[in-house]
Symmetry: C2
Subunit: 326 residues, 2 copies
């Protein structure tokens, strides 16, 4: 069983693999551990394991789950440290019955089915009183931490603790609201739409920007133009619009940046006390291509050096012709 | 001129390269941009550019500095955003006159000269009233964000803002002190030395541990056994001991993990108001090999998955025979 451990200095929770841990020797040449499987495990008959299935999207339990719901959740002290077994759920969302690698190549209808799946699984997991946060995210490509299987998929993790950056974001948004009595994200959307130099693409309900203080080259944020703190509740009625904008930005990256590895994460409000987030928090999606490894000391300092200005990112991605090859 | 920009949500400062920015096309195939230079620029005559020189260690200005001291520092608002030109200093520490790649292969005397250099440069930079923090760090190997030049070097950056994780650390340590009236790091050192399962190596004044809530495989922290918040002041009289323990842990990584890329960062207290940190903060060095790219969505969430328990890291690195080849 894995453990959740809390850093006593900054309060950051980490999942530590224990029983299923990789042996030290497995790290010595990490690239050789990438399996280039000819037979895709996700194209085989996996219906027997599926937790949920609809419109070609299937949800299965991770075959090597790092979280487990079978034991009750309890926190324990180890001297000045805090630890609990890694209670929670870890699911894989198979986004298409076809062997298609990149979500950018799915249809808008398929992406919409994925979005609805995230939404429904979130609504299920948040009924568990031990769950504090639900992460829906994608790792695409080896550089983004995925195995090279070539079958588009994403992941959902329901965890009994709040990830540190979620706390940072909700706290920052709350401080802004306390001063201005307005949502920081709504103000940001308005400023970006007026200024336009960091706007990459938009449709009726969403805008994609290169954030002002980007940490990584080609970092982008997908922001709803309407205010809602929670993804699962707030997406109702806007699924078509989000699916279209996700396909748009992912195609821009695929075509413009030569099919890069990327991650996206849905940044939604914490599960508990939703009413305390509703005025100041604003759900959004961070999409980050993984093009550089220059983020060296950044991991240890939280101080980032972005080698390209977001205004240049915006010009570059804006000019990609997504209709030429789509 | 680069800019320093502040994320309006979490307050994180980022350096944005502007004039010297890489063109978007340069990111498309990032590995091909690694230059495998036959002629090492650091072995050439660079004495004319040196800022400081002692015991074979030379300090030079970065040839592509991302910070600049030539214009006065001032913060400006851009609507709800905050920005300033990237005031500060960016220096390269050439650690040896010889063409040696890894600090692990320097002598203890050479490493001691590097430590004294960090200390002296920090004492110089902190006289500038605009400087808030001084980062001394190393990127070794391509995976750690360094070019493959093969000449051991590290970097010093003096910046006019506080890096986010420095703030997180000092705040966490202060909260612990407010409750317990003891230094969190001293308590941690005592607990680790008593428990021993995460201790990798130690000498009279330093201990190296695999931290309890490690984020990365083989993450290690070098902690002084004595209490001091500030590296530059606190290292006086302990340089020999630190040089010996740095050589020890870097050799363990080099031999045990097949010469991995790695970063280290000296985590010292902020420049201003040192007396407000002296009781609760405790300087230390984080050393992190760069073996995996699995840290996918971690960048966006601050939620880490470590694929090997720190107790296993400690056993593995403890058992490396550093005298066999050293």
């Amino acid at each position: 069983m894995s453990q959740l451990r809390k850093d006593p200095i900054v309060g950051r929770w980490t999942i530590i693999a224990t029983e299923r841990a990789r042996r030290p020797a497995a790290f010595v040449d990490p690239l050789s551990t990438v399996t280039d499987q000819k037979k895709c495990p996700y194209c085989q008959d996996i219906a027997s394991h599926s937790i949920y299935e609809s419109h070609g999207v299937k949800v299965i339990k991770s075959s090597s789950p790092i979280l487990d719901e079978s034991k009750p959740f309890e926190r324990q002290a180890q001297g000045l440290y805090e630890v609990c077994h890694s209670y929670g759920s870890h699911e894989i969302v198979l986004e298409s019955p076809d062997h298609i690698a990149n979500m950018a190549d799915l249809t808008i209808e398929q992406i919409k089915a994925v979005i609805r799946t995230y939404c429904l699984r979130m609504q299920t997991h948040r009924k568990d009183p031990s769950i504090e946060y639900i992460l829906a995210y994608k790792n695409y490509g080896v550089a983004a931490g995925s195995r090279n299987i070539g079958h588009s998929r994403s992941q959902i993790m329901a965890v009994p603790v709040l990830p540190m950056r979620v706390q940072d974001k909700t706290r920052g948004a709350e401080q802004y609201f306390d001063i201005h009595e307005r949502c920081l994200f709504c103000d940001m959307v308005n400023q970006e739409l007026k200024n336009r130099e960091r706007v990459i693409t938009e449709n009726e309900y969403f805008v994609v920007i290169a954030p002002f203080a980007s940490r990584f080259p080609f970092e982008t944020w997908v922001l709803p133009k309407y205010h809602h703190c929670d993804f699962a509740d707030g997406i109702m009625g806007y699924e078509d619009s989000l699916a279209a904008i996700m396909k748009d930005i992912l195609l821009r990256m695929k075509i413009g940046l030569n099919d890069p590895a990327y991650n996206y994460m849905i940044q939604t409000s914490p599960v508990k006390n939703p009413s305390s987030y509703k005025d100041h928090y604003h759900w959004h999606i961070e999409v980050m291509p993984r093009l550089t490894r220059v983020a060296g000391f950044e991991r240890g300092t939280g101080f980032y050096i972005c080698p390209i200005p977001p205004e240049m990112t915006a010009v570059f991605l804006r000019e990609v012709d997504i209709h030429a090859t789509a």
